[in-house]
């Protein structure tokens, strides 16, 4: 069995790059608050989505549309319209997090395949089975807080397909429940689709030292020529008393490439790459790398070693919670 590579696309060009690089599946979103990567210059309008899906299908790839933020009271129409438009555009599935939206999709679009977003933070078999029984969810994207044995335990107790992140930015929180960005900016990934929105980020070069501010607060200072992290609070470097350090999480990227055989054995169906905010260059390189790995695994060949450090936040990588070594 070849594990499915699920690849990000923030633009139509990135979608085409992903498909050409060998992605089995691409996920993307509309250019509004309905998806959790609502960044300037990114995402798809309706005609781009239709064209992107047609391109992917013509090349044998699937497209999943992420509608994975939580609708605001009285504004659900925007999210309902996104589901309807994704369905009409020919999406192979929609990725949802909100239970109300799942109920709406199951009722209004019964033939549309539903995936449960990582934003729903479904981290045990009971809740995953509940989503499957009540809404007909076919796949769950597991939060990045589980070890490989925990993933195996979930797969032993559910018939729902599981998809896990194998590369890209890490969230340290239970996904869908992090409000750190809201404290500094008033905007969050859950409600507005933006974590540390660019409109609230300022960089200052202080003699080679890079000063990053979010909502006016300095969240880290990067020494001259040292690798820079994303300007997110969870990767911030804070001083308390006489100690200075990364309070929540070091600025590193997830890379679970070496764990792919174990993830296969744990019953995982699909491997997800984070990074809809990244370029087509990133997409092509990471997809090519992971596609080569799963093909080698399926054919019993040794997995090729990747060269992905350069593309990683802070130019450093971790296996995250898959191998738990909490400090």
């Amino acid at each position: 069995m070849v594990m499915e590579i699920v690849c990000p696309a923030g633009t139509p060009a990135a979608l085409r790059a992903a498909v050409k690089a060998g992605a089995h599946t691409v996920y993307c979103g509309f250019n509004d608050e309905t998806n959790a990567r609502n960044f300037p210059g990114l995402n798809f309008d309706r005609s781009e989505m239709r064209a992107g899906i047609a391109f992917a299908h013509a090349h044998g790839a699937k497209v999943l549309v992420a509608i994975n933020t939580f609708p605001r009271a009285g504004e659900q129409t925007l999210w309902h319209r996104a589901i309807a438009d994704a369905h009409h555009a020919g999406a192979d599935a929609v990725i949802l997090a909100d239970a109300g939206l799942l109920a709406h999709a199951a009722r209004m679009h019964p033939d549309l395949r539903l995936h449960l977003s990582v934003q729903a933070a479904a981290a045990n078999a009971d809740i995953i089975n509940y989503y499957a029984e009540v809404f007909g969810v076919k796949r769950v994207v597991l939060p990045r807080v589980l070890s490989v044995p925990e993933i195996a335990a979930i797969n032993a107790e559910t018939g729902v397909e599981t998809e896990v992140f194998v590369f890209g930015g890490l969230c340290v929180m239970a996904e869908g429940r992090c409000s750190l960005s809201s404290y500094a900016t008033g905007l969050s990934p859950n409600m507005n689709g933006v974590c540390s929105p660019a409109s609230h980020v300022d960089y200052h070069d202080d003699g080679g030292v890079l000063d990053a501010r979010l909502g006016g607060y300095t969240i880290h200072r990067t020494a001259k020529n040292a690798p820079a992290p994303y300007p997110t609070l969870c990767k911030g470097c804070f001083s308390a008393g006489e100690k200075t350090g990364h309070l929540f999480e070091d600025p590193v990227s997830l890379n679970a490439e070496a764990l792919i055989p174990q993830l296969l054995k744990a019953g995982v169906t699909a491997l997800k790459i984070e990074g809809r905010q990244r370029s087509k260059s990133y997409v092509a390189q990471v997809v090519g790398n992971f596609r080569a790995a799963v093909d080698a695994l399926a054919e019993g060949r040794p997995m090729p070693k990747g060269m992905l450090t350069r593309l990683s936040e802070g130019q450093a990588m971790t296996t995250g919670a898959y191998r738990k070594t909490w400090r």
Partner: protein, 180 residues
């Protein structure tokens, strides 16, 4: 921590010296005409800028003694070549080769940011919008130049290919071969 698999080339000193004495007004006019041609062939680029379409951008090749000031003006862009910066909303700085590599989709913008090869200042949202819009546009600057060169297009393509091969700078769009 690893180092770049392909180091970003720096501009030859001769080019920098030439730009110190070259009159900039004709260069600005040419680049404005050129950018309008690009706008005509890639309208999505300026549409994708959205609310940032009226911002002023400074593009600063740090290995050259000039900066480019880009006013997108809703799809009728103007480019000025300046020896000193001017009031602006967002500034993107890096070696010329990094900026050209970004335009041609050979480099990843976030990776250049992590490695400190690319520096952003001012309105981060505007800088991000421009970077994402350019990445989606799939530009090929050399091809655009060749297209307006009439009978000189063929020899020009050969010269560009030779310079590209010799310098390691991405002057064209590498279709399926990201540098990193």
């Amino acid at each position: 921590m690893s180092q770049p698999s392909t180091p970003i080339p720096t501009c030859p000193r001769a080019l920098a010296q030439l730009l110190r004495v070259l009159p900039l007004a004709p260069l600005s006019l040419s680049l404005t005409a050129y950018s309008r041609r690009i706008a005509k062939h890639h309208p999505g680029l300026f549409r994708r800028l959205g609310v940032y379409g009226d911002r002023r951008f400074i593009l600063d090749p740090t290995d050259l003694p000039i900066v480019l000031c880009l006013d997108p003006k809703g799809g009728r862009p103007r480019v000025q070549v300046l020896r000193q910066t001017t009031p602006h909303d967002a500034r993107i700085s890096g070696p010329l080769a990094a900026l050209l590599g970004l335009v041609h989709g050979a480099y990843d913008g976030d990776a250049l940011f992590f490695s400190r090869d690319l520096v952003i200042a001012g309105d981060t949202g505007a800088a991000l919008a421009l970077r994402n819009a350019v990445d989606d546009a799939e530009l090929n600057l050399a091809q655009e130049i060749a297209a307006i060169s009439g009978p000189f297009a063929r020899p020009l393509r050969k010269i560009i290919a030779r310079i590209e091969q010799h310098s390691g700078v991405f002057l064209t769009r590498p279709d399926d071969a990201p540098a990193w």
